[in-house]
């Protein structure tokens, strides 16, 4: 307890509410409110309707939702594989090698995602690998962007891993592959789950690189929200945004349930 006087405490809480509510709670509430209304010309929205949602879960928007889900799922799985592999391989290297590998895999975080999009577009619009115009270029860019986060969280977990378990398993005669599958990966499972959730959420909301290279038949949800609001249909955009948030939250919730199960094992 930092402030002991009653008035002081109330003043601090009031300050907190004044700062927190308009800045953080209000935006999400406003989007939610807008998604259920037809007009907003005044202090409060008017014309309550659920019509935007019927539009948001069919046709183009539904397609965008499945596109986003497929992209996020594929990209997360690929990123998790590559990131985990790199984290495990880095742990086996010496100090110098580990540093190089960590730096290499952190690079996509530092490079602006628009630039990642541009780079992927430039590189795969020309032979030998012609991916431009296919869905794979979107998935590829997402994978590159989220691999860094997967690598970061898995390698943090690998660092915390107690080497006694694997040494015990190895001394009892387990092969390296057996140690990996039966000892290391189960121990890493909680952080793998967390990383999967993180990758999924990031990929679901990815807009910058996607704007650079999405083909017309593979338009993820954030791009759909942008095109809707750009055309001036803010309310439809809000409904789609709520769908995006709800889907992300549901998947995160599911992933965190898996995690609690795994950490009790």
């Amino acid at each position: 307890m930092l402030v002991h006087s009653r008035t002081g405490r109330w003043a601090a809480w009031a300050l907190f509410v004044v700062l927190f509510v308009p800045l953080f709670a209000l935006p999400l509430l406003v989007i939610l409110a807008a998604s259920f209304s037809t007009h907003w010309s005044g202090a409060f929205p008017s014309g309550p309707t659920a019509g935007h949602y019927t539009a948001a879960v069919r046709g183009e928007s539904l397609q965008a939702l499945t596109t986003s889900l497929v992209t996020a799922l594929t990209a997360s799985l690929l990123a998790l594989t590559v990131g985990t592999w790199a984290a495990l391989a880095a742990a086996a290297l010496g100090r110098g090698g580990k540093r190089v590998l960590d730096a290499l895999f952190m690079l996509p975080v530092a490079v602006p995602s628009v630039v990642v999009g541009l780079a992927v577009l430039v590189a795969f619009s020309q032979p030998p690998l012609l991916l431009n115009g296919t869905r794979w270029i979107v998935i590829l860019a997402h994978t590159v962007l989220v691999t860094a986060f997967a690598h970061q969280s898995v390698s943090a977990a690998v660092r915390r891993l107690d080497p006694m378990y694997e040494q015990a398993a190895a001394s009892l005669g387990a092969r390296p592959s057996y140690v990996l599958w039966k000892v290391k990966l189960p121990l890493l499972l909680p952080s793998l789950n967390a990383a999967a959730g993180l990758c999924f959420a990031l990929s679901m909301g990815e807009l910058s690189a996607t704007m650079m290279l999405y083909p017309p038949d593979w338009m993820p949800l954030p791009v759909r929200i942008f095109t809707a609001t750009d055309r001036g249909s803010l309310f439809t955009g809000s409904a789609v945004a709520v769908v995006l948030m709800a889907t992300t939250l549901l998947v995160l919730l599911a992933v965190s349930r898996i995690r609690t199960k795994a950490s009790y094992r």
Binding site: V82, L88, L118, G173, L198
Partner: protein
């Protein structure tokens, strides 16, 4: 290399003959045993692989044979070749690095190459000269930098105050607020701009309230399409990125220190300055530099603002490449953006490593 690695394992096999356990492989008695166990385990990357496996298969049979030569009495145990490190460890690092190189480093290299090759052909620094000379680029550069610096400062101050209240002046629901911050982080940034359109837009909430209360024809809030709107959105979106490390740091702070300081007569302002702030500095430095890099790279917020007056470097990359189809210029801007961001990010890594955050 495989044979050089096999030698100590063969030595281990020699030790093994002394112990009678037929199936016991390695790691039995001596220090050599544990040493051979150690590299075996931590060298094991994910098993399903395509490239290095043939290597392992080719080299694996060689190991047990030499082991058998050293210890003729031992049976050929079922997992042949297990104690032998046939493949050097760095080979396992090659597949992920190769994937990264193909899908990330090679495209980046192409961007650099394209930035040096103007439309007329050949290789020259002419695109750079052109872009650097253009007014739009210089304006975008300065806008990007001051927006990022301003947003970072705002996030630091706001995040520090909010985290301070959550951590040290606890109130019912504080945990829920901390949870909410985590959830907030998993949403895309452009949602904030979308929401601000409803709150501060020309016919939005704030202006509506103003006209209702004062009866004026229109409200005073028109900053949304100016850099200030972007600044507000960035501060809103990135403050949680500062709060999270701060809350983690505060949770490790011993509250007894605060009690002692206050019982000695220190006022809250002094406790914050002399006890809490020094404790929070590493987290502030790490969070602040992360936010700085993310603000430099922010695109969604600027795009959704839809303001022609606000152009940042990522926005310039997008408009040059997609709207104007001027790829060399886009690549030049991209290279500049990469240089700034990667430079700052490496600084962040150094800072956060030094302070141990």
């Amino acid at each position: 290399m495989a044979s050089a690695d096999a030698v100590p394992a063969g030595g281990g096999g020699g030790v093994r003959t002394a112990s009678t356990g037929a199936g016991a492989r390695g790691g039995t008695t001596s220090a050599g045993g544990t040493r051979s166990a150690d590299p075996r385990t931590d060298g094991a990357p994910p098993a399903p692989s395509d490239a290095p496996v043939p290597h392992a298969d080719a080299a694996a049979p060689r190991g047990p044979r030499s082991g058998a030569g050293a210890a003729p009495g031992s049976r050929p145990g079922p997992p042949a070749g297990a104690p032998v490190r046939a493949v050097p460890r760095w080979v396992w690092a090659l597949p992920p690095v190769g994937v990264l190189a193909l899908f990330f480093l090679y495209p980046l290299a192409l961007v650099v190459q394209q930035s040096l090759s103007p439309d007329e052909g050949g290789t020259s620094v002419e695109p750079y000269a052109e872009v650097f000379a253009s007014e739009a680029f210089r304006e975008a550069l300065s806008t990007t930098v001051w927006l990022a610096v301003g947003a970072t400062l705002g996030c630091l101050v706001l995040g520090f105050v909010l985290a301070l209240v959550i951590a040290f002046i606890p109130f019912p629901g504080g945990r829920a607020v901390a949870k909410f911050i985590d959830v907030f982080l998993s949403f895309p940034s452009f949602l904030i701009t979308l929401a601000l359109l409803f709150v501060y837009g020309t016919v939005g909430m704030a202006n509506g309230l103003w006209t209702d209360v004062t009866g004026a024809a229109e409200g005073p809030f028109h900053f949304l399409t100016t850099p200030w709107g972007v600044l507000l959105a960035e501060i809103t979106y990135f403050t949680p990125f500062v709060m999270r490390p701060l809350l983690a740091a505060f949770s490790q702070l011993d509250t007894a220190q605060l009690e002692v300081a206050s019982s000695l007569g220190a006022r809250p302002a002094r406790i914050v300055r002399q006890v809490i702030l020094p404790e929070a500095l590493p987290a502030l430095a790490a969070g602040g530099s992360l936010v700085l890099v993310m603000c430099l790279n922010e695109f969604g917020i600027v795009l959704f603002t839809g303001a022609k007056g606000v152009t940042t470097l990522p926005m310039l990359v997008y408009s040059e490449a997609i709207l104007a189809s001027d790829y060399p210029a886009a690549c030049v801007v991209a290279v500049v953006n990469i240089a700034i961001s990667v430079g700052l990010y490496s600084l962040y890594r150094v800072v956060s490593r030094r302070v141990g955050a």
